[in-house]
Symmetry: C2
Subunit: 199 residues, 2 copies
């Protein structure tokens, strides 16, 4: 008898899989991978374009409460931050202190609900300046997750080193890859994802 597993994938446009002609994104690829590995699950994709960590903080709990009522193993995968480090009027849309506080608060809220969390790093885009800011945030996020004993999949640098990811982002809209880029990201995440599901 397999458990009744329900997982919400919460975050931004990368979570939503924007740009993927297969309409799966990395979240859909990981969910399908779990099915293929003999662990069916109900997955809900709650990624929203343009949303910063502050935007996500404002909606995520209500949306997950709607979806994580039933089932005997309820979990959350969280990925955010790229829209925080986007510059608007010469400043990040959300500063690093606030981004860090938002993530820490979300981890607290999840813990209070009893939902195990897996955090996925914000990926790089086609903008070296923004990537430097995101890489700094990536380190902060890793620390926050470490302090909260929440697994953090730190794929930011690996994606910067991926010719496929960086090429698809560049020839796309400057931020999102196509199907091959999402394949790369899902492959990077798969070991940590399967380890977390088994835990």
């Amino acid at each position: 008898m397999t458990r009744d597993l329900r997982i919400c994938f919460v975050g931004d446009s990368f979570v939503a899989g924007v740009g993927d002609p297969r309409c799966l994104g990395w979240a859909g690829r990981l969910a399908a991978r779990a099915h293929a590995d003999g662990q069916p699950l109900t997955s809900y994709n709650l990624g929203v374009r343009r949303q910063t960590s502050s935007d996500i903080l404002g909606r995520w709990l209500g949306e997950c409460d709607q979806r994580l009522r039933d089932g005997d193993d309820r979990r959350v995968v969280l990925s955010l931050g790229v829209n925080d480090t986007t510059h608007a009027d010469g400043r990040p849309r959300v500063g690093p202190e606030e981004s860090a506080a938002n993530l820490a608060l979300m981890l607290d809220q999840a813990a209070s609900r009893g939902w195990p969390v897996l955090v996925v790093a914000p990926p790089p885009v086609d903008d070296a300046g923004q990537n430097a800011r995101t890489a700094a945030l990536d380190e902060r996020f890793a620390e926050i997750c470490g302090d909260a004993s929440v697994p953090y999949l730190s794929v930011h640098q690996a994606l910067r080193d991926s010719a496929v990811w960086m090429h698809e982002v560049r020839v796309g809209d400057g931020a999102h890859p196509g199907a091959a880029g999402y394949d790369v990201l899902a492959e990077l995440l798969a070991p940590g994802w399967l380890r977390w599901l088994a835990g």
Copy 2:
């Protein structure tokens, strides 16, 4: 230059694609079909298991408001009703009058936001009594959509006639098909979907 198209798929577990090992459901298949036809889109899946039309009415507008802020063509695909006709304590969880009123109200709300809507019929499950109730609701829904000049894709009977759909539902959990069943449903919907997208 293609338009920036954003679509929310709102409804129940069939919208969410429960049971599909490919993790696309019919909504993901239709979105991928649009991409393949040269119309990329941002699709958001807002299907939630066990939810009746009353449950969906309570959350759908807030969730769509989060997702349909940007873009120059913002739309909604709606499919609900199967959980209304489920019996609890010998009565439908939501009676047909209330189901009809809920749908009519949602169509009004969408019109007030300026969102074009496409409605997809509630599919059959492995329970003849419930299917009879759902078929009656299907007729009501068709009338309501006709009155509101909203296209309604009436696939309920075609799915009852589909050996693939009914077999997968029966050998599955009694309600949801697997990948082949969702293929069948997506194929039935594709002509109406593409016509609506072009309109």
